[in-house]
Point group: C2
Chain length 194, copies 2
Amino acid sequence: MSESDGVTKTKILDAAQDLIQRLGANGMSYQDISDAVGIRKASIHHHFPTKENLIETLLDRYCEYFFRLFDNILQSTASPKEKLQKYIDLFEATLRSEKGEKACLYGMVGAEIASLGLESLAKVKHFHEGNEERLTTLLIEGRKGRVFNLKGDPKATAALVFSLLEGAILIVRAKGGVRQFRQITEQLMILLAA
Amino acid sequence: MSESDGVTKTKILDAAQDLIQRLGANGMSYQDISDAVGIRKASIHHHFPTKENLIETLLDRYCEYFFRLFDNILQSTASPKEKLQKYIDLFEATLRSEKGEKACLYGMVGAEIASLGLESLAKVKHFHEGNEERLTTLLIEGRKGRVFNLKGDPKATAALVFSLLEGAILIVRAKGGVRQFRQITEQLMILLAA
DNA sequence: GTCTATAGCGCGATAGAC
DNA sequence: GTCTATCGCGCTATAGAC
């Protein structure tokens, strides 16, 4: 392994992401990352000069990863209903991660958006737009195939689905956990079904 | 006015609530409150010895206030559909507050729940339960009157509505604001309509 | 690239005068 | 009940040796 292959960088990003998804960006510190990775705080600053810089890198990485998974789902041969279920499963997989229940990275950062920089705000906007656009495509596809009974504007329904998933993954961590998340998303599928 | 009528206490609570609804509990500090109220940090500690104590007091106050409004709606002579709309309007009123867009206090604290104490966790649970129970009652009432087309479990639908509203109020602050919030909630009403 | 050491600041919280 | 002053700590960030 070369010394510049980015393994340490990746470990730092992984630890930071885990912490933010559980505690929030304002609840995560370089010391927490230091403890998790087994590296000194100064070394983290070598890779990510400022906390804003670290968060922005994280947001980009998560967005690319998430959109790639979403695009794979969209381009698969599954039915629109199955595609939506697989999209929902992306959120559920996040929630049921090994280290305890985590929310979506963008859900956490979105909640704290007023205390972050303009760069982060732009990235959050981009994530929301990307999700809503792709969901709109998916919903329209399902309406054509008569598997979704879409009353009203598909864009509004897409925004509803996205808000619901982001909200549910935040809410259920306090009480019902994965079990309640599934109850809510099953109900969503029922409401959308033709 | 007596010196123990709690005016200062109320001012502190109001400022703290505003800050948490915009920045989150971890993004709010005693110094911020001090600046907002025009009182020294030490004086805040006189009224609320610890930050946890302040947050717990806030959560209780907000919960009582919100449930009172919700109960008033439930006990009114409005139709179930109108009642649900008025409930949604409680969230919209929070969002369009004068000092910039605010989320629900419990939405913000819920996102940061893993970095708060067990007392706060219990209060968050209580708020979620209270909302879901009342919403369930409202939805069943509407189903009887055939104004809601409830497929599936009313409890699951109630949890869906609550998660959606908490999620939407967090999400729309990044981009669409009140306009998008209204678009989403109108779509919800369409989906639930018989 | 990682380390030790530390600067500089803001935090929550306390002591004690008034 | 509010103030000034301060403690002790954790934070982000930097300097410089290795």
